[in-house]
Amino acid sequence: MTRPGQTTAPLLDVRDLTVEFRTSEGVIKAASGVSFDLNRGEIVALVGESGCGKSVTAMAILRLIDDPPGRITDGEIHFDGRDLLREPIETIQAIRGDRIAMVFQEPMNSLNPVHTIGDQVLEPLHLHKGLTKSAALARAIALLQSVRISDPARRYGDYPHQFSGGMRQRVMIAMGMGCVPDIVIADEPTTALDVTIQAQLLELLKEQVDRQHTAMLLITHNLGIVARYADRVNVMYAGRIVESASADDIYDRPSHPYTIGLLQSVPRLDRPVTEKLVPIEGQPPDPLDLPPGCPFQPRCRFATDVCLREDPPLRRLDDTHEIACWVDV
């Protein structure tokens, strides 16, 4: 939530980020003109269905897009007075894992099977802080403790296959938090886990963020998670942000037809049980062959002539609420 009276520059400021992938069939714009910012202590969510560009946006922040086939063709990412897109890769390497950490979406495969849990938790610390061996051991145990791995002194030497999925994801969180980063990017941190474990992990992430006054970029397709944990929400569709608002506004006053559709298609506890779920008709557009005008227009109930002709820019509804839509719904 943007605090009233806050005038300092945001911690992370993404401006007009455009990422393209060159494939044999043509150029895919995975993200086009994505802009948002992130303040200290804030949790910002990027929401959207698979392929909407939310993960690409996250990867681009740390310059993790493989080139070829991917390329960041435009934009600025300001962090700590620098534009991350114009720094040499060595600078980015020093920032990765230290100032900006990432928690990945596949706990099953995001740990290296041949190294012990302890070694991997210490990897960022080893890379960035150069800890001595005895200090490192104590730190690894403390980190595992902080994500509530029981008996960390013993489990420290275990291999990933001896850990369950939820435990591995907690190890990933411990890895991410090891260097006390300014920003944590959590890319679908709970996707492969069951619901109770999801809740535990998100509480854990939020607790870590609160304790260290870190900012978090939460990438998810799960609106339930967003409602509970995010301060601000950016809804993405076909590589662009279509609605940006505080989490409360997204639920109370969704204004983009896509957001409205999303909310109508998931069951909600604050609505009568008898209420029908309304799916969004159609399929997300083919990224190689975007429809003319607004990319959501073929599936939109409110589409008008102008929607077919021109791609709507983001426009302000009020201080904290923006949508990319020609129509006032």
Partner: protein
């Protein structure tokens, strides 16, 4: 084991050894190799005679209490010569493969991780080397450099790296796409660190199998080249060379060529058994079968 990725296997040395010993053939192979290695390594202690000491009054004698396996055509004790000869054969087999493996691993890692033009160049060179039959290749190199065991070793190394390059590259291509490599990059690891610490250990399983099979191949190759007279030069002994010389006296002193032949066979079979055992131990799909 890893859940989704069956081709990446974590190796713990003690567990691997235990599995290997449970595999009957591999256990036999391991015992044979250890015994052969000990016998040849301890040749200076075990050998009853100096392998170069001639006794021209006592040539091609059959087995006797003084000379257990008899003597050769210039009266040297065959047992002593076989023990010392094993040093050459086994050492060449192991050392050449180690050097070849290091070269192959480095090239495979670089080709697989960097990809693109470098990958294409390295792999085409590898293909070119692999087109040439091994024996011809080693003969050509040895002939060009001149006979001698060092040149044969160089030739085996020059020939041997290709297999490792292919295997490591294939494994790198597979491993580099796994999420933990992305995670390592996101943690700030440099490309070299990712290659050495995160990718290389994950290529070890198929590599170990190839190393052990290749050592058998290299022993055989060295024997073949020595048999043809290009390898070790007199008076040094090696199993292949003794086999060749003994062939001339097959009727007078059959053990002269039969024993080195057997030793070569044993060493190669043992290496192959170990290789098979490693393959079974490291392949989760075969686990629990045929035990």
């Amino acid at each position: 084991m890893t859940d989704a990725v069956t081709t990446v296997v974590s190796i713990k040395p003690t567990a691997l050894l235990r599995q290997l010993l449970r595999h009957k053939l591999a256990a036999i192979g391991l015992v044979i190799i250890v015994v052969l290695a000990l016998l040849t390594a301890l040749a200076p202690v075990l050998a009853p005679y100096d392998p170069h000491a001639q006794d021209l009054y006592n040539v091609l004698s059959g087995p006797s209490p003084a000379h257990w396996l008899g003597t050769d055509n210039v009266g040297r004790d065959l047992l002593s010569r076989f023990l010392y000869g094993g040093q050459v054969s086994l050492l060449v087999g192991v050392c050449t493969i180690m050097v070849a493996a290091v070269i192959g691993i480095v090239l495979g890692l670089v080709a697989g991780y960097l990809g693109g033009a470098i990958d294409a160049a390295v792999m085409r060179i590898t293909d070119a080397f692999m087109c040439i039959p091994p024996l011809i290749f080693v003969l050509i190199i040895a002939a060009a450099l001149g006979p001698g065991i060092h040149n044969v070793a160089v030739a085996i190394v020059l020939f041997g790296w290709t297999g490792f390059t292919r295997i490591v590259r294939g494994q790198v291509l597979l491993v580099r796409e796994l999420p933990f490599i992305e995670a390592a990059r996101a943690a700030g690891a440099s490309p070299i660190r990712i290659m050495l610490k995160h990718i290389l250990p994950n290529t070890l399983a198929p590599l170990l199998v190839t190393v052990s099979l290749s050592i058998g191949g290299a022993i055989l190759l060295e024997s073949a080249v020595s048999f043809l007279g290009i390898g070790v030069q007199p008076p040094t002994a090696s199993w292949g060379k003794e086999l060749r010389t003994g062939l001339n006296y097959l009727e007078l002193a059959p053990l002269y060529s039969i024993v080195p032949g057997l030793l070569i066979t044993l060493a190669v079979i043992a290496c192959n058994f170990i290789g098979d055992g490693l393959r079974d131990a490291l392949d989760p799909r075969l686990r629990g079968d045929n035990r």
